[in-house]
Protein backbone atom coordinates (compact mmCIF):
# COMPACT_ATOMS: atom_id res chain seq x y z
CA UNK A 1 0.00 0.00 0.00
CA UNK A 2 1.25 3.48 -0.87
CA UNK A 3 2.29 5.86 1.87
CA UNK A 4 0.05 8.64 0.61
CA UNK A 5 -2.93 6.29 0.76
CA UNK A 6 -2.08 5.29 4.32
CA UNK A 7 -1.83 8.91 5.38
CA UNK A 8 -5.20 9.67 3.79
CA UNK A 9 -6.82 6.78 5.64
CA UNK A 10 -5.23 7.83 8.92
CA UNK A 11 -6.47 11.39 8.48
CA UNK A 12 -9.97 10.15 7.70
CA UNK A 13 -9.91 7.96 10.81
CA UNK A 14 -8.70 10.87 12.95
CA UNK A 15 -11.43 13.13 11.57
CA UNK A 16 -14.09 10.49 12.29
CA UNK A 17 -12.86 10.10 15.86
CA UNK A 18 -12.75 13.87 16.32
CA UNK A 19 -16.24 14.28 14.89
CA UNK A 20 -17.49 11.57 17.20
CA UNK A 21 -15.90 13.28 20.19
CA UNK A 22 -17.44 16.62 19.15
CA UNK A 23 -20.79 14.91 18.92
CA UNK A 24 -20.35 13.48 22.43
CA UNK A 25 -19.22 16.84 23.75
CA UNK A 26 -22.30 18.65 22.43
CA UNK A 27 -24.70 15.91 23.52
CA UNK A 28 -23.08 15.29 26.88
CA UNK A 29 -26.44 15.17 28.65
CA UNK A 30 -27.82 12.35 26.51
CA UNK A 31 -24.70 10.22 26.34
CA UNK A 32 -23.35 10.69 29.85
CA UNK A 33 -22.27 7.08 30.23
CA UNK A 34 -20.32 6.90 26.96
CA UNK A 35 -18.76 10.27 27.77
CA UNK A 36 -17.37 9.31 31.17
CA UNK A 37 -16.41 5.78 30.26
CA UNK A 38 -14.48 6.80 27.14
CA UNK A 39 -12.73 9.53 29.09
CA UNK A 40 -11.59 7.03 31.71
CA UNK A 41 -10.60 4.60 28.96
CA UNK A 42 -8.35 7.21 27.34
CA UNK A 43 -6.64 7.90 30.66
CA UNK A 44 -6.09 4.22 31.34
CA UNK A 45 -4.77 3.82 27.79
CA UNK A 46 -1.89 6.19 28.62
CA UNK A 47 -0.87 4.26 31.71
CA UNK A 48 -1.38 0.92 29.95
CA UNK A 49 0.97 1.97 27.14
CA UNK A 50 3.49 3.24 29.70
CA UNK A 51 3.35 -0.12 31.48
CA UNK A 52 3.70 -1.87 28.15
CA UNK A 53 6.80 0.19 27.40
CA UNK A 54 8.43 -1.03 30.61
CA UNK A 55 7.04 -4.57 30.81
CA UNK A 56 6.23 -5.49 27.22
CA UNK A 57 9.05 -3.80 25.34
CA UNK A 58 11.92 -3.74 27.84
CA UNK A 59 10.97 -6.89 29.70
CA UNK A 60 11.05 -5.29 33.15
CA UNK A 61 8.17 -6.71 35.12
CA UNK A 62 7.34 -3.62 37.14
CA UNK A 63 4.23 -3.33 39.30
CA UNK A 64 4.81 0.18 40.61
CA UNK A 65 2.34 2.00 38.34
CA UNK A 66 -0.15 2.88 41.09
CA UNK A 67 2.63 4.49 43.15
CA UNK A 68 3.81 6.67 40.25
CA UNK A 69 0.22 7.54 39.40
CA UNK A 70 -0.34 8.61 43.01
CA UNK A 71 2.63 10.97 42.87
CA UNK A 72 1.37 12.51 39.64
CA UNK A 73 -2.20 12.70 40.89
CA UNK A 74 -1.45 14.46 44.18
CA UNK A 75 0.85 17.01 42.57
CA UNK A 76 -1.68 17.74 39.81
CA UNK A 77 -4.44 18.00 42.41
CA UNK A 78 -2.55 20.55 44.51
CA UNK A 79 -1.95 22.62 41.36
CA UNK A 80 -5.59 22.50 40.33
CA UNK A 81 -7.64 22.95 43.52
CA UNK A 82 -8.97 26.53 43.27
CA UNK A 83 -7.39 28.75 45.93
CA UNK A 84 -10.70 30.07 47.25
CA UNK A 85 -11.96 26.60 48.13
CA UNK A 86 -8.70 25.13 49.36
CA UNK A 87 -9.52 25.83 53.01
CA UNK A 88 -12.71 23.76 52.68
CA UNK A 89 -10.74 20.84 51.30
CA UNK A 90 -8.27 20.82 54.17
CA UNK A 91 -11.00 21.56 56.74
CA UNK A 92 -9.72 19.12 59.37
CA UNK A 93 -6.00 19.69 59.64
CA UNK A 94 -5.63 23.02 57.89
CA UNK A 95 -3.49 23.68 54.86
CA UNK A 96 0.29 23.83 55.03
CA UNK A 97 1.69 27.35 54.61
CA UNK A 98 4.04 26.08 51.92
CA UNK A 99 1.08 25.03 49.76
CA UNK A 100 -0.74 28.28 50.51
CA UNK A 101 2.32 30.30 49.38
CA UNK A 102 2.61 28.15 46.29
CA UNK A 103 -1.06 28.66 45.41
CA UNK A 104 -0.74 32.43 45.89
CA UNK A 105 2.32 32.40 43.68
CA UNK A 106 0.38 30.51 40.99
CA UNK A 107 -2.50 32.99 41.20
CA UNK A 108 -0.16 35.94 40.75
CA UNK A 109 1.22 34.59 37.45
CA UNK A 110 0.06 36.22 34.20
CA UNK A 111 -3.18 35.11 32.57
CA UNK A 112 -1.76 33.01 29.75
CA UNK A 113 0.17 30.92 32.29
CA UNK A 114 -3.07 30.29 34.18
CA UNK A 115 -4.64 28.97 30.99
CA UNK A 116 -1.94 26.37 30.48
CA UNK A 117 -1.84 25.63 34.20
CA UNK A 118 -3.41 22.14 33.84
CA UNK A 119 -0.68 21.14 31.38
CA UNK A 120 2.04 22.45 33.68
CA UNK A 121 0.41 20.52 36.53
CA UNK A 122 0.42 17.27 34.55
CA UNK A 123 4.03 17.83 33.43
CA UNK A 124 5.18 18.53 36.98
CA UNK A 125 3.36 15.46 38.24
CA UNK A 126 5.00 13.35 35.56
CA UNK A 127 8.44 14.80 36.25
CA UNK A 128 8.11 14.10 39.98
CA UNK A 129 7.13 10.51 39.22
CA UNK A 130 10.11 10.24 36.84
CA UNK A 131 12.44 11.59 39.53
CA UNK A 132 11.23 8.99 42.01
CA UNK A 133 11.65 6.32 39.34
CA UNK A 134 15.23 7.43 38.66
CA UNK A 135 16.04 7.22 42.37
CA UNK A 136 14.47 3.84 43.10
CA UNK A 137 15.66 2.53 39.73
CA UNK A 138 19.28 2.59 40.88
CA UNK A 139 18.87 -0.22 43.43
CA UNK A 140 15.75 -1.89 42.02
CA UNK A 141 16.68 -2.35 38.35
CA UNK A 142 19.50 -4.69 39.33
CA UNK A 143 16.79 -7.21 40.19
CA UNK A 144 15.20 -9.47 37.63
CA UNK A 145 11.67 -10.67 36.83
CA UNK A 146 9.62 -11.54 39.94
CA UNK A 147 12.05 -9.85 42.31
CA UNK A 148 11.69 -6.60 40.42
CA UNK A 149 7.91 -6.98 40.50
CA UNK A 150 7.91 -7.43 44.28
CA UNK A 151 10.26 -4.50 44.86
CA UNK A 152 8.22 -2.11 42.72
CA UNK A 153 5.00 -3.34 44.27
CA UNK A 154 6.54 -2.56 47.65
CA UNK A 155 7.44 0.92 46.48
CA UNK A 156 3.89 1.52 45.35
CA UNK A 157 2.49 0.48 48.72
CA UNK A 158 5.04 2.61 50.57
CA UNK A 159 3.98 5.64 48.50
CA UNK A 160 0.37 5.01 49.41
CA UNK A 161 1.20 4.66 53.11
CA UNK A 162 3.24 7.84 53.08
CA UNK A 163 0.48 9.79 51.36
CA UNK A 164 -2.14 8.69 53.87
CA UNK A 165 0.10 9.17 56.91
CA UNK A 166 -1.07 11.74 59.48
CA UNK A 167 2.29 13.51 59.28
CA UNK A 168 1.37 14.71 55.81
CA UNK A 169 -2.13 15.83 56.77
CA UNK A 170 -1.52 19.44 55.83
CA UNK A 171 -0.18 18.53 52.39
CA UNK A 172 -2.04 15.45 51.18
CA UNK A 173 -4.94 15.78 53.61
CA UNK A 174 -4.04 12.31 54.93
CA UNK A 175 -6.71 9.69 54.55
CA UNK A 176 -9.42 12.25 53.70
CA UNK A 177 -8.00 12.82 50.26
CA UNK A 178 -8.20 15.87 48.03
CA UNK A 179 -11.32 17.08 46.32
CA UNK A 180 -12.74 19.94 44.27
CA UNK A 181 -9.99 19.42 41.73
CA UNK A 182 -10.46 21.39 38.53
CA UNK A 183 -11.43 18.91 35.81
CA UNK A 184 -11.01 18.63 32.05
CA UNK A 185 -12.67 21.30 29.95
CA UNK A 186 -13.87 18.74 27.40
CA UNK A 187 -13.46 15.15 26.32
CA UNK A 188 -11.43 16.40 23.36
CA UNK A 189 -8.85 17.80 25.76
CA UNK A 190 -8.54 14.41 27.49
CA UNK A 191 -8.13 12.56 24.21
CA UNK A 192 -5.63 15.09 22.87
CA UNK A 193 -3.40 14.80 25.94
CA UNK A 194 -3.65 11.02 25.80
CA UNK A 195 -2.82 11.01 22.08
CA UNK A 196 0.24 13.22 22.56
CA UNK A 197 1.54 11.00 25.38
CA UNK A 198 1.01 7.79 23.44
CA UNK A 199 2.57 9.25 20.27
CA UNK A 200 5.67 10.19 22.23
CA UNK A 201 6.01 6.65 23.57
CA UNK A 202 5.47 5.16 20.11
CA UNK A 203 8.23 7.37 18.72
CA UNK A 204 10.54 6.19 21.50
CA UNK A 205 9.72 2.55 20.79
CA UNK A 206 10.36 3.03 17.07
CA UNK A 207 13.72 4.75 17.63
CA UNK A 208 17.02 2.93 18.04
CA UNK A 209 16.42 3.11 21.79
CA UNK A 210 13.27 1.07 21.28
CA UNK A 211 15.23 -1.53 19.37
CA UNK A 212 17.72 -1.73 22.22
CA UNK A 213 14.82 -2.14 24.70
CA UNK A 214 13.52 -5.08 22.69
CA UNK A 215 17.00 -6.61 22.53
CA UNK A 216 17.22 -6.42 26.32
CA UNK A 217 13.80 -8.06 26.59
CA UNK A 218 14.81 -10.88 24.27
CA UNK A 219 18.22 -11.69 25.70
CA UNK A 220 20.02 -9.34 28.02
CA UNK A 221 23.40 -11.10 27.86
CA UNK A 222 23.46 -10.97 24.07
CA UNK A 223 22.31 -7.34 24.19
CA UNK A 224 25.17 -6.53 26.53
CA UNK A 225 27.62 -8.32 24.26
CA UNK A 226 26.43 -6.06 21.41
CA UNK A 227 27.55 -3.09 23.47
CA UNK A 228 24.15 -2.02 24.79
CA UNK A 229 24.54 -0.53 28.24
CA UNK A 230 21.93 -2.52 30.17
CA UNK A 231 21.51 -0.28 33.17
CA UNK A 232 21.30 2.93 31.17
CA UNK A 233 18.59 1.59 28.88
CA UNK A 234 16.58 -0.09 31.62
CA UNK A 235 16.73 3.15 33.58
CA UNK A 236 15.62 5.18 30.55
CA UNK A 237 12.64 2.94 29.88
CA UNK A 238 11.67 2.86 33.56
CA UNK A 239 11.92 6.64 33.97
CA UNK A 240 9.99 7.44 30.78
CA UNK A 241 7.34 4.86 31.65
CA UNK A 242 6.99 6.32 35.14
CA UNK A 243 6.74 9.84 33.74
CA UNK A 244 3.69 8.87 31.72
CA UNK A 245 2.25 6.89 34.63
CA UNK A 246 2.54 10.11 36.63
CA UNK A 247 0.86 12.10 33.87
CA UNK A 248 -2.00 9.63 33.65
CA UNK A 249 -2.32 9.73 37.45
CA UNK A 250 -2.75 13.50 37.14
CA UNK A 251 -5.33 12.96 34.42
CA UNK A 252 -7.16 10.51 36.65
CA UNK A 253 -7.24 13.17 39.39
CA UNK A 254 -8.70 15.66 36.92
CA UNK A 255 -11.23 13.08 35.76
CA UNK A 256 -12.41 12.00 39.22
CA UNK A 257 -12.21 15.50 40.72
CA UNK A 258 -11.50 13.92 44.11
CA UNK A 259 -8.80 11.45 45.05
CA UNK A 260 -7.61 9.68 48.15
CA UNK A 261 -4.85 7.21 48.86
CA UNK A 262 -7.18 4.23 48.41
CA UNK A 263 -7.61 5.14 44.73
CA UNK A 264 -4.00 4.14 44.19
CA UNK A 265 -3.98 0.76 45.89
CA UNK A 266 -2.41 -2.33 44.33
CA UNK A 267 -5.66 -3.25 42.63
CA UNK A 268 -5.25 -0.25 40.32
CA UNK A 269 -1.93 -1.69 39.12
CA UNK A 270 -3.61 -5.04 38.57
CA UNK A 271 -6.36 -3.40 36.53
CA UNK A 272 -3.69 -1.87 34.29
CA UNK A 273 -1.74 -5.12 34.05
CA UNK A 274 -4.96 -6.78 32.98
CA UNK A 275 -5.49 -4.23 30.22
CA UNK A 276 -1.93 -4.80 29.02
CA UNK A 277 -2.31 -8.60 29.04
CA UNK A 278 -5.67 -8.54 27.25
CA UNK A 279 -4.33 -6.11 24.65
CA UNK A 280 -1.16 -8.08 24.06
CA UNK A 281 2.16 -7.66 25.85
CA UNK A 282 4.33 -5.74 23.42
CA UNK A 283 1.61 -4.05 21.34
CA UNK A 284 0.79 -0.36 21.76
CA UNK A 285 -2.38 -0.46 19.70
CA UNK A 286 -3.41 -3.57 21.64
CA UNK A 287 -3.09 -1.66 24.91
CA UNK A 288 -5.11 1.28 23.60
CA UNK A 289 -7.92 -0.86 22.21
CA UNK A 290 -8.00 -3.02 25.30
CA UNK A 291 -8.00 0.00 27.65
CA UNK A 292 -11.12 1.32 25.94
CA UNK A 293 -12.74 -2.09 25.63
CA UNK A 294 -12.09 -3.20 29.21
CA UNK A 295 -13.22 0.09 30.71
CA UNK A 296 -16.33 0.25 28.56
CA UNK A 297 -17.37 -3.32 29.25
CA UNK A 298 -16.54 -3.23 32.93
CA UNK A 299 -18.29 0.04 33.66
CA UNK A 300 -21.07 0.01 31.12
CA UNK A 301 -21.90 -2.93 28.85
CA UNK A 302 -21.79 -5.56 31.57
CA UNK A 303 -24.06 -3.42 33.80
CA UNK A 304 -26.84 -5.41 32.19
CA UNK A 305 -25.94 -8.30 34.49
CA UNK A 306 -26.41 -6.15 37.59
CA UNK A 307 -30.15 -5.67 37.11
CA UNK A 308 -32.72 -8.36 37.78
CA UNK A 309 -33.86 -9.94 34.54
CA UNK A 310 -37.35 -11.30 33.99
CA UNK A 311 -38.36 -13.58 31.14
CA UNK A 312 -42.14 -13.47 31.41
CA UNK A 313 -42.70 -13.92 35.12
CA UNK A 314 -39.56 -16.02 35.57
CA UNK A 315 -36.65 -14.24 37.23
CA UNK A 316 -33.33 -15.39 35.84
CA UNK A 317 -31.12 -16.36 38.80
CA UNK A 318 -27.79 -14.65 39.62
CA UNK A 319 -28.73 -11.39 37.91
CA UNK A 320 -28.13 -8.97 40.78
CA UNK A 321 -25.72 -6.23 41.83
CA UNK A 322 -22.11 -7.40 41.52
CA UNK A 323 -22.84 -10.19 39.07
CA UNK A 324 -21.15 -8.26 36.26
CA UNK A 325 -17.82 -8.63 38.08
CA UNK A 326 -18.32 -12.40 38.11
CA UNK A 327 -18.97 -12.37 34.36
CA UNK A 328 -15.99 -10.07 33.84
CA UNK A 329 -13.73 -12.45 35.78
CA UNK A 330 -14.93 -15.40 33.73
CA UNK A 331 -14.14 -13.53 30.51
CA UNK A 332 -10.69 -12.80 31.90
CA UNK A 333 -10.10 -16.43 32.77
CA UNK A 334 -11.11 -17.40 29.26
CA UNK A 335 -8.68 -14.87 27.77
CA UNK A 336 -5.81 -16.08 29.92
CA UNK A 337 -6.54 -19.74 29.22
CA UNK A 338 -7.36 -19.70 25.52
CA UNK A 339 -6.07 -16.45 24.14
CA UNK A 340 -2.74 -15.97 25.82
CA UNK A 341 -1.23 -13.62 23.31
CA UNK A 342 -4.03 -11.13 23.88
CA UNK A 343 -5.96 -9.22 21.24
CA UNK A 344 -2.96 -8.13 19.20
CA UNK A 345 -0.06 -10.28 20.38
CA UNK A 346 3.12 -8.38 19.59
CA UNK A 347 1.83 -6.90 16.34
CA UNK A 348 0.52 -3.40 15.74
CA UNK A 349 -2.44 -2.00 13.85
CA UNK A 350 -1.59 -1.34 10.21
CA UNK A 351 -3.55 -0.34 7.14
CA UNK A 352 -1.86 -3.17 5.22
CA UNK A 353 -3.52 -5.77 7.41
CA UNK A 354 -6.90 -4.07 7.15
CA UNK A 355 -6.40 -3.87 3.38
CA UNK A 356 -5.48 -7.55 3.21
CA UNK A 357 -8.48 -8.70 5.21
CA UNK A 358 -10.79 -6.43 3.20
CA UNK A 359 -9.51 -7.80 -0.12
CA UNK A 360 -9.66 -11.31 1.32
CA UNK A 361 -13.30 -10.74 2.22
CA UNK A 362 -13.99 -9.29 -1.23
CA UNK A 363 -12.44 -12.32 -2.90
CA UNK A 364 -14.49 -14.60 -0.67
CA UNK A 365 -17.75 -12.85 -1.57
CA UNK A 366 -16.87 -12.77 -5.28
CA UNK A 367 -16.14 -16.50 -5.26
CA UNK A 368 -19.48 -17.18 -3.64
CA UNK A 369 -21.40 -15.11 -6.13
CA UNK A 370 -19.58 -16.47 -9.18
CA UNK A 371 -20.08 -20.06 -8.10
CA UNK A 372 -23.39 -20.28 -9.91
CA UNK A 373 -21.89 -19.23 -13.26
CA UNK A 374 -19.09 -20.74 -15.26
CA UNK A 375 -15.83 -21.43 -13.45
CA UNK A 376 -13.23 -18.89 -14.37
CA UNK A 377 -9.73 -20.19 -14.75
CA UNK A 378 -7.06 -17.56 -14.68
Amino acid sequence: MKNSKKITYSIILAVIILAFLFFLETNKANYGMAYTVLMKGAILAVVAVSMNLVTGFTGLFSLGQAGFMAIGAYITAIFLIPTDTIQDVYYISGVSPAIMNFKNLLDSTPGWLQVINPYIALMTGGLAAALFAALIGIPVLRLKSDYLAIATLGFSEIMRAIISSPQLDTITNGSYGLKKIHGFSSIIQTFTIAAVCITFMVLLIRSTYGRAFKAIREDDTAAEAMGINLFKHKQLSFVVGSFFSGVSGGMLAMFMRSIDSKTFSVSLTYDILLIVVIGGIGSVTGSVISALLVTVSKEWWLRFFDNPLYIGSFQVPFFRTGFRMVVFSIILLAVVLFYQRGLMGKSEFSWEKIGKSVSGLKGFILKKTSKGGSNHVK
Binding site: K214, E218, D219, T221, M226
Partner: protein, 241 residues
Protein backbone atom coordinates in the same frame (compact mmCIF):
# COMPACT_ATOMS: atom_id res chain seq x y z
CA UNK B 1 57.84 -10.61 9.55
CA UNK B 2 56.93 -9.90 13.16
CA UNK B 3 53.25 -9.38 13.56
CA UNK B 4 51.76 -6.80 15.83
CA UNK B 5 50.14 -8.22 18.97
CA UNK B 6 46.50 -7.17 18.86
CA UNK B 7 45.52 -8.78 22.13
CA UNK B 8 47.64 -10.08 24.93
CA UNK B 9 46.63 -11.54 28.24
CA UNK B 10 48.96 -11.92 31.19
CA UNK B 11 48.34 -14.05 34.24
CA UNK B 12 44.55 -13.83 34.09
CA UNK B 13 42.58 -15.24 37.05
CA UNK B 14 38.79 -15.34 37.17
CA UNK B 15 36.56 -16.74 39.90
CA UNK B 16 32.84 -17.32 40.14
CA UNK B 17 32.12 -16.99 43.83
CA UNK B 18 34.76 -19.19 45.41
CA UNK B 19 35.34 -21.37 42.39
CA UNK B 20 38.42 -20.60 40.33
CA UNK B 21 37.50 -20.94 36.67
CA UNK B 22 40.66 -19.48 35.16
CA UNK B 23 43.94 -19.87 37.04
CA UNK B 24 46.54 -17.50 35.69
CA UNK B 25 46.61 -17.93 31.92
CA UNK B 26 48.59 -15.89 29.41
CA UNK B 27 48.01 -15.78 25.68
CA UNK B 28 48.74 -13.62 22.67
CA UNK B 29 46.67 -12.96 19.55
CA UNK B 30 48.55 -11.43 16.63
CA UNK B 31 46.85 -9.04 14.27
CA UNK B 32 45.32 -10.75 11.25
CA UNK B 33 45.49 -14.25 12.71
CA UNK B 34 42.97 -16.89 13.58
CA UNK B 35 43.84 -18.11 17.04
CA UNK B 36 41.96 -20.97 18.57
CA UNK B 37 41.47 -22.02 22.13
CA UNK B 38 40.56 -25.68 22.47
CA UNK B 39 39.74 -27.79 25.46
CA UNK B 40 37.11 -29.89 27.16
CA UNK B 41 33.96 -28.69 28.91
CA UNK B 42 34.66 -26.62 32.00
CA UNK B 43 38.23 -25.83 30.99
CA UNK B 44 37.51 -22.11 31.28
CA UNK B 45 37.53 -21.22 27.58
CA UNK B 46 34.21 -19.40 27.62
CA UNK B 47 35.14 -17.62 30.81
CA UNK B 48 38.26 -16.27 29.14
CA UNK B 49 36.17 -14.84 26.28
CA UNK B 50 33.57 -13.41 28.63
CA UNK B 51 36.31 -11.75 30.66
CA UNK B 52 37.96 -10.21 27.60
CA UNK B 53 34.63 -8.77 26.47
CA UNK B 54 33.95 -7.29 29.90
CA UNK B 55 30.94 -9.44 30.84
CA UNK B 56 32.88 -10.91 33.76
CA UNK B 57 35.38 -8.99 35.88
CA UNK B 58 38.78 -10.64 36.40
CA UNK B 59 40.25 -11.22 39.82
CA UNK B 60 43.83 -10.65 38.75
CA UNK B 61 45.83 -10.21 35.57
CA UNK B 62 46.11 -7.80 32.71
CA UNK B 63 44.45 -7.65 29.30
CA UNK B 64 46.07 -5.44 26.67
CA UNK B 65 44.47 -4.56 23.36
CA UNK B 66 46.43 -2.65 20.74
CA UNK B 67 48.88 -1.60 23.45
CA UNK B 68 46.13 -0.27 25.69
CA UNK B 69 45.19 -1.73 29.07
CA UNK B 70 41.55 -2.80 28.87
CA UNK B 71 41.33 -4.93 32.03
CA UNK B 72 37.87 -4.59 33.56
CA UNK B 73 36.63 -2.13 30.93
CA UNK B 74 32.92 -1.95 30.16
CA UNK B 75 31.53 -4.01 27.29
CA UNK B 76 30.19 -0.86 25.64
CA UNK B 77 33.66 0.71 25.39
CA UNK B 78 35.18 -2.56 24.22
CA UNK B 79 32.67 -2.90 21.39
CA UNK B 80 33.43 0.70 20.45
CA UNK B 81 37.14 -0.14 20.37
CA UNK B 82 36.44 -3.06 18.04
CA UNK B 83 36.21 -6.19 20.18
CA UNK B 84 32.99 -8.11 19.63
CA UNK B 85 31.85 -11.40 21.07
CA UNK B 86 29.67 -13.96 19.31
CA UNK B 87 28.18 -15.55 22.40
CA UNK B 88 27.87 -19.26 22.98
CA UNK B 89 24.65 -20.84 21.76
CA UNK B 90 24.08 -18.10 19.13
CA UNK B 91 21.69 -16.04 21.26
CA UNK B 92 19.98 -14.17 18.45
CA UNK B 93 16.94 -12.09 19.46
CA UNK B 94 14.17 -14.56 18.58
CA UNK B 95 11.20 -12.18 18.31
CA UNK B 96 12.99 -9.57 16.20
CA UNK B 97 13.45 -9.83 12.47
CA UNK B 98 16.77 -10.76 10.90
CA UNK B 99 17.26 -7.16 9.79
CA UNK B 100 16.52 -5.81 13.27
CA UNK B 101 19.01 -8.27 14.71
CA UNK B 102 21.67 -6.97 12.34
CA UNK B 103 20.83 -3.37 13.21
CA UNK B 104 21.23 -4.05 16.92
CA UNK B 105 24.72 -5.35 16.16
CA UNK B 106 25.56 -1.85 14.95
CA UNK B 107 23.86 -0.20 17.91
CA UNK B 108 26.85 1.91 18.91
CA UNK B 109 27.50 3.21 15.41
CA UNK B 110 25.89 6.44 14.36
CA UNK B 111 26.84 6.35 10.66
CA UNK B 112 25.03 4.81 7.74
CA UNK B 113 24.51 1.05 7.99
CA UNK B 114 23.30 0.27 4.47
CA UNK B 115 26.76 -0.60 3.13
CA UNK B 116 27.48 -3.00 5.98
CA UNK B 117 24.09 -4.67 5.71
CA UNK B 118 24.78 -5.30 2.02
CA UNK B 119 28.20 -6.68 2.93
CA UNK B 120 26.66 -9.12 5.42
CA UNK B 121 24.04 -10.15 2.86
CA UNK B 122 26.81 -10.85 0.36
CA UNK B 123 28.57 -12.99 2.92
CA UNK B 124 25.35 -14.77 3.95
CA UNK B 125 22.90 -14.69 1.03
CA UNK B 126 20.43 -16.69 3.05
CA UNK B 127 20.04 -13.87 5.55
CA UNK B 128 18.96 -11.53 2.76
CA UNK B 129 16.24 -13.95 1.69
CA UNK B 130 14.99 -14.06 5.24
CA UNK B 131 15.51 -10.48 6.30
CA UNK B 132 11.84 -10.05 7.34
CA UNK B 133 11.58 -13.36 9.12
CA UNK B 134 11.74 -13.54 12.91
CA UNK B 135 15.16 -14.77 13.97
CA UNK B 136 13.61 -17.45 16.18
CA UNK B 137 12.18 -19.18 13.11
CA UNK B 138 15.57 -19.67 11.44
CA UNK B 139 17.38 -23.00 11.50
CA UNK B 140 20.33 -23.50 13.81
CA UNK B 141 22.89 -22.87 11.09
CA UNK B 142 21.12 -19.74 9.89
CA UNK B 143 20.94 -18.46 13.46
CA UNK B 144 24.68 -18.97 13.80
CA UNK B 145 25.23 -17.06 10.57
CA UNK B 146 23.01 -14.31 11.90
CA UNK B 147 24.97 -14.24 15.16
CA UNK B 148 28.22 -13.86 13.20
CA UNK B 149 26.67 -11.27 10.88
CA UNK B 150 25.31 -9.32 13.82
CA UNK B 151 28.75 -9.22 15.41
CA UNK B 152 30.31 -8.05 12.13
CA UNK B 153 27.90 -5.11 12.02
CA UNK B 154 29.92 -3.35 14.71
CA UNK B 155 32.94 -3.41 12.35
CA UNK B 156 35.17 -5.27 14.78
CA UNK B 157 38.94 -5.60 14.51
CA UNK B 158 38.85 -8.61 16.80
CA UNK B 159 35.92 -10.99 16.75
CA UNK B 160 35.68 -13.66 19.41
CA UNK B 161 33.52 -16.69 18.71
CA UNK B 162 32.36 -19.02 21.40
CA UNK B 163 31.73 -22.49 19.96
CA UNK B 164 30.19 -21.55 16.63
CA UNK B 165 29.87 -25.24 15.70
CA UNK B 166 27.74 -26.12 18.72
CA UNK B 167 24.77 -28.25 17.77
CA UNK B 168 25.19 -27.91 14.02
CA UNK B 169 25.31 -30.56 11.33
CA UNK B 170 28.84 -31.29 9.98
CA UNK B 171 28.09 -29.79 6.57
CA UNK B 172 26.93 -26.54 8.18
CA UNK B 173 29.97 -26.55 10.46
CA UNK B 174 32.20 -26.66 7.36
CA UNK B 175 30.30 -23.76 5.90
CA UNK B 176 30.75 -21.74 9.09
CA UNK B 177 34.48 -22.51 9.14
CA UNK B 178 34.79 -21.32 5.54
CA UNK B 179 33.02 -18.11 6.47
CA UNK B 180 35.41 -17.63 9.38
CA UNK B 181 38.30 -17.94 6.93
CA UNK B 182 36.69 -15.44 4.57
CA UNK B 183 36.13 -12.93 7.35
CA UNK B 184 39.73 -13.39 8.42
CA UNK B 185 40.98 -12.73 4.88
CA UNK B 186 39.06 -9.47 4.94
CA UNK B 187 41.35 -8.40 7.79
CA UNK B 188 39.47 -9.31 10.94
CA UNK B 189 41.45 -11.02 13.67
CA UNK B 190 39.66 -14.00 15.15
CA UNK B 191 39.83 -15.67 18.53
CA UNK B 192 37.96 -18.93 18.21
CA UNK B 193 36.89 -21.13 21.07
CA UNK B 194 36.03 -24.63 19.97
CA UNK B 195 35.45 -28.15 21.17
CA UNK B 196 35.68 -29.37 17.62
CA UNK B 197 39.48 -29.25 17.84
CA UNK B 198 40.13 -30.91 14.51
CA UNK B 199 38.32 -28.28 12.45
CA UNK B 200 39.46 -25.34 14.55
CA UNK B 201 43.15 -26.27 14.38
CA UNK B 202 42.96 -26.79 10.62
CA UNK B 203 41.97 -23.19 9.95
CA UNK B 204 43.92 -21.58 12.79
CA UNK B 205 47.32 -19.92 12.58
CA UNK B 206 47.95 -20.51 16.25
CA UNK B 207 46.33 -22.50 19.02
CA UNK B 208 46.22 -22.93 22.77
CA UNK B 209 45.07 -25.97 24.70
CA UNK B 210 43.13 -25.17 27.83
CA UNK B 211 42.67 -27.61 30.70
CA UNK B 212 40.92 -26.90 34.01
CA UNK B 213 41.74 -23.22 33.97
CA UNK B 214 45.33 -23.51 32.77
CA UNK B 215 46.98 -23.40 29.39
CA UNK B 216 48.84 -26.65 28.96
CA UNK B 217 50.12 -26.34 25.44
CA UNK B 218 50.55 -23.84 22.65
CA UNK B 219 51.80 -23.83 19.10
CA UNK B 220 50.78 -23.28 15.50
CA UNK B 221 47.65 -25.00 14.27
CA UNK B 222 49.59 -27.67 12.44
CA UNK B 223 51.92 -28.38 15.36
CA UNK B 224 49.01 -29.01 17.67
CA UNK B 225 47.17 -31.02 15.07
CA UNK B 226 50.11 -33.38 14.80
CA UNK B 227 50.86 -33.52 18.51
CA UNK B 228 50.32 -36.97 20.00
CA UNK B 229 48.80 -35.83 23.31
CA UNK B 230 46.40 -33.45 21.58
CA UNK B 231 45.47 -36.19 19.15
CA UNK B 232 44.75 -38.58 22.00
CA UNK B 233 42.83 -36.12 24.13
CA UNK B 234 40.89 -34.01 21.61
CA UNK B 235 41.04 -35.49 18.16
CA UNK B 236 39.83 -38.92 19.14
CA UNK B 237 42.77 -40.76 17.64
CA UNK B 238 44.53 -43.40 19.71
CA UNK B 239 48.22 -43.03 20.45
CA UNK B 240 50.22 -45.33 18.24
CA UNK B 241 53.33 -47.10 19.41
Amino acid sequence: MAKNNLLSIEDLCVSYGGIKAVKGISLVVSEGDIVTLIGANGAGKSTILRTISGLVKPERGKITYNGEDITGAQTTTLVEKGITLVPEGRRVFPNLTVLENLKIGAYLRKDNLEEDIQRIYKLFPRLEERSWQLAGTLSGGEQQMLAVGRALMSRPKLIMMDEPSLGLAPIIVNEIMNIIKTINKEGVTILLVEQNANLALRIAHGGYVCETGNITMEGTGMELLNDETVKAAYLGKAKKK
